[in-house]
Symmetry: C2
Subunit: 266 residues, 2 copies
């Protein structure tokens, strides 16, 4: 079995040094067209970088952060615990995602953001972010779009957990992840995607139990739909998996992204 690191990191390192690519610029370019000034502004805003270890917490429920973090490389996850100790995962942050524009306005974080692997982040002071948004409305619009996609994804997850069975839930989730990675131009896509999740995380994402997740994953394997192993997955028959699980990528709004990205690639 092929072993590789975070696919995103892979791309970054293989194609160009981390310093040369800015995932936030790429992400914003999926929704808006950035001019040279705007790119420079995003670049400037994301200069303060920092390594962060797996398991560390980027944002604590109840805290009042004065900065926003950008995932440059790695994966984070939003989550919260119930009073009786059950965990629900609300979403995963991939490179280019921000954590969290909203706390700035709300003044208070209402859930936790933890790291799933050793990662690189950029730290953006709130004041800098604000100034940049005021000066470049296009950037503001792009950030707004990003948060709207996140909200749409949250609705999709609610529908997923509320209305679909375990098989469909997991299928839908993997389709979504796969599309998101694809949109970043992940080179390793054909061979599989690395995602630092355990079956525990999958369970807490889908409102299921670890044992049952395990059994559904086996069914995926037996039916030739998907292989999950050692935090790597590979969808073998995307069309069928999408159909069986009712997946429609529209809510991710990746459609506009593709031509844009092609333009960015020179």
């Amino acid at each position: 079995m092929l072993v590789f690191r975070s696919p995103v990191r892979n791309v970054m390192l293989a194609d160009a040094p981390l310093q040369r690519r800015n995932p936030l610029i790429e992400r914003l370019s999926m929704f808006v067209t950035l001019g040279p000034d705007e790119r420079a502004a995003v670049e400037a805003m994301t200069q303060t970088r920092r390594a962060i270890e797996s398991g560390e917490t980027l944002a604590h429920e109840g805290s009042r952060p004065d900065r926003v973090c950008l995932i440059l490389d790695g994966v984070a996850y939003r989550h919260r615990y119930t009073s009786d100790g059950r965990r629900q995962i609300f979403g995963y942050l991939l490179p280019g995602d921000l954590c969290d524009t909203k706390f700035v306005i709300c003044n208070e974080c209402d859930h936790n953001v933890g790291m799933l692997c050793d990662s690189q982040i950029a730290i953006i002071p709130v004041t800098t972010l604000m100034k940049t948004m005021v000066q470049f409305p296009v950037i503001e619009r792009g950030l707004l779009m990003m948060s709207l996609v996140e909200a749409a994804t949250a609705r999709e997850w609610l529908l997923n957990v509320g209305q679909r069975n375990a098989f469909q839930r997991l299928g839908h989730f993997f389709c979504e992840l796969s599309k998101r990675f694809e949109a970043f131009g992940n080179q390793g896509f054909g061979k599989g995607i690395a995602m630092p999740l355990t079956q525990r995380e999958l369970a807490d994402t889908m409102g299921l139990n670890v044992v049952h997740v395990n059994r559904v994953l086996q069914r995926f394997r037996n039916e030739g739909l998907l292989n999950w192993s050692r935090q790597h997955f590979r969808i073998l028959d995307f069309g069928r998996l999408a159909e069986l699980s009712g997946f429609d990528p529209h809510y991710l709004r990746l459609d506009r992204g593709l031509p844009e990205r092609r333009m960015l690639a020179y």
Copy 2:
């Protein structure tokens, strides 16, 4: 059995004519402090009013609206159907709620908004909304806060559906509704709350089945926690219900609202 109409309509009609109260002003005042000019602007923005019947659709999935609707009186609900015909309800819009600021930016509606009873709405052209937000940043901030609370509520629902059993889900939902109504100063609160829902809607909200919802409602009744009958409910023991269902109202951000509202009450 006491019979009354929509409690909100009730309050409106009993306390002051609809024209005298603007639910959007009240709602914004929960998050920001509006000056006389800003109130006037909100007032001006919401002049175009219209009656709308139960069952009508305010927004269609896939449509590209050029206006935003404000619920003045009545209840709407956001929902979407899966490809196999199951419905998930994403949220309920009460007087003061907007449907939908986000579509403006996204340019496309990703779910439906339907009316649960005969209602009154105000129609705000997007251009007017934009101008008002630019001219009065406080209003923009208030609207942003409103959409953040909605996003936080969506997360709470995901946790609810993903991690809690049927009893807790329903209990949590009723606690939330009750708190939201309470925040509007609903006079009939002590006697019960009218909410134009069938058990079918409750089921599609909670990711449950109608039959099971019915049985849980009976259990609430038998345990002296809550009465639900003919689209009216009355929580008999809020404290216990909240505890049993793990409800913590923090995510609704009503805390700031209370002193504000008191000031508004003269």
